[in-house]
Structures are given as C-alpha cells and as structure tokens.
Symmetry: C2
Amino acid sequence: MRDQVRLVEVGPRDGLQNESSHLPTNVKIELIRRLFGAGIRHIEAGAFVSPKWVPQMADSAAVIDALNAPERAEVLALVPNEAGLKSALASQVETIAVFTAASETFSKRNTNCSIEDGLARLRPVVQQARDAGRQVRGYVSCIVGCPYEGRVPIASVVRVAEELFAMGCDEIALGDTNGVARPAEIRALLKAVTAGIPASQIAIHVHDTYGMGLANVLTSLELGLRSVDASVAGLGGCPYAPGASGNVATEDVVYLLEGQGLTTGIDLDALIQVGTWICNTLGRVPSSRVSAARSTRS
Amino acid sequence: MRDQVRLVEVGPRDGLQNESSHLPTNVKIELIRRLFGAGIRHIEAGAFVSPKWVPQMADSAAVIDALNAPERAEVLALVPNEAGLKSALASQVETIAVFTAASETFSKRNTNCSIEDGLARLRPVVQQARDAGRQVRGYVSCIVGCPYEGRVPIASVVRVAEELFAMGCDEIALGDTNGVARPAEIRALLKAVTAGIPASQIAIHVHDTYGMGLANVLTSLELGLRSVDASVAGLGGCPYAPGASGNVATEDVVYLLEGQGLTTGIDLDALIQVGTWICNTLGRVPSSRVSAARSTRS
C-alpha cells in the first residue's frame, strides 16, 4: 500500500554499535521486545561480525535467539561474509543485510578491500542467503559524501546499487553515512537509482549529523520510497556531543510520517517511552526532538 | 531572482527574548555587527514593546541606533501598537513588524485582545508606518497548531493573512509558533494562502520544537517562497533542555539552501563562528547541527 511505510528500526545495531556505553545482552533483548511492543515490525537486531572488530555485537546470536519475535515481524542482521552468514542462517534471522560503499577509500577503510573485491565477496553470500530462503538487503554507504573523498559521484552509487540488485538483493538501502546530504542531492541521486531499480525496493538510511535527516526522508518519500531506516532516540549519536552522527530518530520520523498521512503501525507515545527508558539506561538523553517536546508537554 | 533567498535573522529578537540569560546592550550590538560581517542583510534587531512585558528588549532603541548597518541592510523591529511605532519611527528601523495570531486563545493570551480587535489596533500602525516610508511585515502566529486550542483551521490563517495583506503589509510572515507543523500541513496551508497573496510576499518562520523545521522550510521553498526566518545557533531554545522551542538555526538553513542551489550571500563558516561566540557568551552550546558537525571536523 502506498500509504504504508516500512520503518526499519536500526537502533539495536547501527545505534548501539556507535554508543560509548555497551549494553548487557539481557538489556538488548528487553530493548527489542519493548520496540516490538511499541509496534516496530522491522528491526535490525545485530551483526554477525568478528567480535575482534565490533565487540558491541559479539552477543548478536544470543540476542536474536531470545527474541520470540511477534508474527510477521522481520528481524534483520548484518553479515560481512560467508562465515557471518553461516552463523546468521543458524539463527532466527529473516533478512540478511550485506554492505558495501560507493566510495573506494571508505570501502578500503571499512571493509579492507576495494569496492570490486567487496562485491565479489558478497555475491556468494547473497546467493546462499537466497538459497536458504532468506530475504537480502544490500547497504550502500557514502551515497553523497565520503569522509575521506568528499563528494561521491552519482554514477558510483548507481553502479554499486545495480550490482547489488543484480546479484539478488531484495532491497537496496542507500546510506548517507556521514550525514552531509541535502534534499536536492538525494533527489538527483534517487532519480538516477530508480531508473534501474524500482522505488519500492529502495530504502533510505540517513544520519542526522548536519540536521538534514528529516528533510532527506521527506524528499525520499516524495520520490516514491516507502522504506525508511531510523534509530529509536537517535541511538548512535548524541546531539549534546559535538559531531553527533546518529541515525535520524525513529520518533521524529514517525511524527513526520503521521503528518504526511502515512502509516507505520507504530504507537508514537509507546515508542517515546522505549527511547526514554533505553537512554536512561545508557546515561544519555534522547536526541529525538519529538521526545523532548512531548516529555515537556505531559 | 528565484535562486536568491531573503534570509531574515531573528536571533537578536525572537531568539534573545526567549533565552534565560540576558545580554548587555553592548554585546547585542556586537552580535548584530558580527552577523552583518558574516553576510546577514536582513535582521530583526529588537522590539519596541513595554519593558514591563519584555524586559529583554528594553534597550532596543539603543541597540538599533548604535548599529551603523551596512549598505542595503534591512533592520526590522517588532512593534505592538502606536506607542511602539512612535519609538520605532524615531530609530533607524527600516521595516516595522506587527503581529497577531490565527488562534483566538493565543491572541488573547499573547496580546490581550481578540484577533478582530488586534487587527483593528494594527490598522493605523501599518498605515502610519507606510506613510513614514517604512516597509511593513505582518506576523501570523500559530499557523498550524496552538498551544491552547490544538489544530488551527487553515481558513483562520488565510483570513488573518489576507487582512494583514489588505491593510498594507509588504510581507506576511507565517509562524509555526509551537513547532508542531509538518510538511503536508505547511503545503496545504501555503496552497491556500498563496491563492490570495503572492508567494514572493510570504515568509516562513518555523520553530524546531518537533525537529520539523528544515523539512518545513524545504516544503516552503518547493512552493515558491523565498523568504525564510531563522536564528543564529538556534537562539531562543536549547536542544539540551526539554521542550526546546527555538527557531530553526540559521547555520542549518544556510547549509540546506546551499545544497538546493539557492544563495543568501551569507558566509557559512563565518556565521558558525558568530553562533559559537554568542553561545559561549550565553553559557550554552549552539543548537545548530551544522555547527556541531563542522566544529568537530576542523
């Protein structure tokens, strides 16, 4: 349905991975259960990556297996390679998320290989995930700017997105990793990407580093996208710390969507409570403006 | 020109009026001079209101008379009535800003009279300002929501805006006073208002209470508006305090506009420095995301 938005909650993964405080396994489980309780139905719950590189995600298998996800809930997990896929397939993960970047330098720094080599590494992962009956999401990082290279050409993003789509990804998630993108840039990019990939199979994943998050989500909706990533309370970056680089806050996205006549099935007040609770646990305050405004009002 | 935006800096008035720390006169003067130095050319520098009601603006005449504004700079000041106008006309103010609301209860609480009586009170003020060769801006508060009445009907906004326009206001500034508006609401409202008033004579004035500020500015630009209010560093509301209700930060608006290919004549890096300086003086941090991101980068 055109008035329904698939909101993918990435707080437990993209968010917590970038918080300075690390949460115990049981709190992560409780967080995801509470998010389900608030109506979240698509959730990136963890990553099957080496604990050497990402210690925050070392307990992802334990978290995911304890979830007891509700009917029709979709649990996503990040997988970098075949080893990670093996662990993911042994878990209750419905959607396998693979990742690469549109910037050569970012790819080398983040995944230790060129874009080309990264794509070659992902091909068997995507194939095996599909063979095992799982959905596959392909992330493209640095869709507008790269912290090392600056402006990223649209053609680079199109090429990587189309490769991921061609190898069998059901959804391409376009990530403004360092949050520099502005609506006109998102518009030009999406026009180019949707020439080869249907808008219904593209997600927008924005960070709010420069405050452009919601404006970019709005533009993506105008161009027909109906899949939006966000993180409860803006986990992953705190507005009080300089250089905050968290995802756009789920509460703020839901408030925006409701005003646009779009539905997510999420109970905004319940979601605000979850965000406040997890931030109390982390010893920070939510970066959601809607949460701050509603907390004062009530 | 369609690619030029008239950015009206309201920090020295709407911003400082709502900060808990009060600035000495010489610091206000220094702030405005620095803003001119960063390329700001339209600035609401004060208000000629009773110091009994708004003690923060008691020195507006002194501030404005000390400015030595650069060529083609426009100094605006808020004026509630004929007494205020008299003081304003004795100063170097180029544009007189009058105000009313689209909500009956807000009008009564804020100006102590009904909308109808408020408009009647403004008519001679607007006439005399025009007779004295001044430009006139008419503010309409509560264009989407009212803190007392909730949702405000579009028809109420249209009626008040058209009355102000008919009595001779050169520009109508539509204010989302409590920051609850969302893009679809702004779009519907602007479609209705622009049926009677050219988009070139309408300004958008948004608060970022619910984080929708930039998305609403973007929508206003899409509907042809080219006059945007903002406050340096988001003065008037702090994101760290719950219920922050400041104007959208000028730095963030400029960053957005630059990405849209629109020009303001403002030097963004210089503006960030002004915002950081005034916030240091006030003992707070800028609520501009762009400022936080750029400060970390450099």
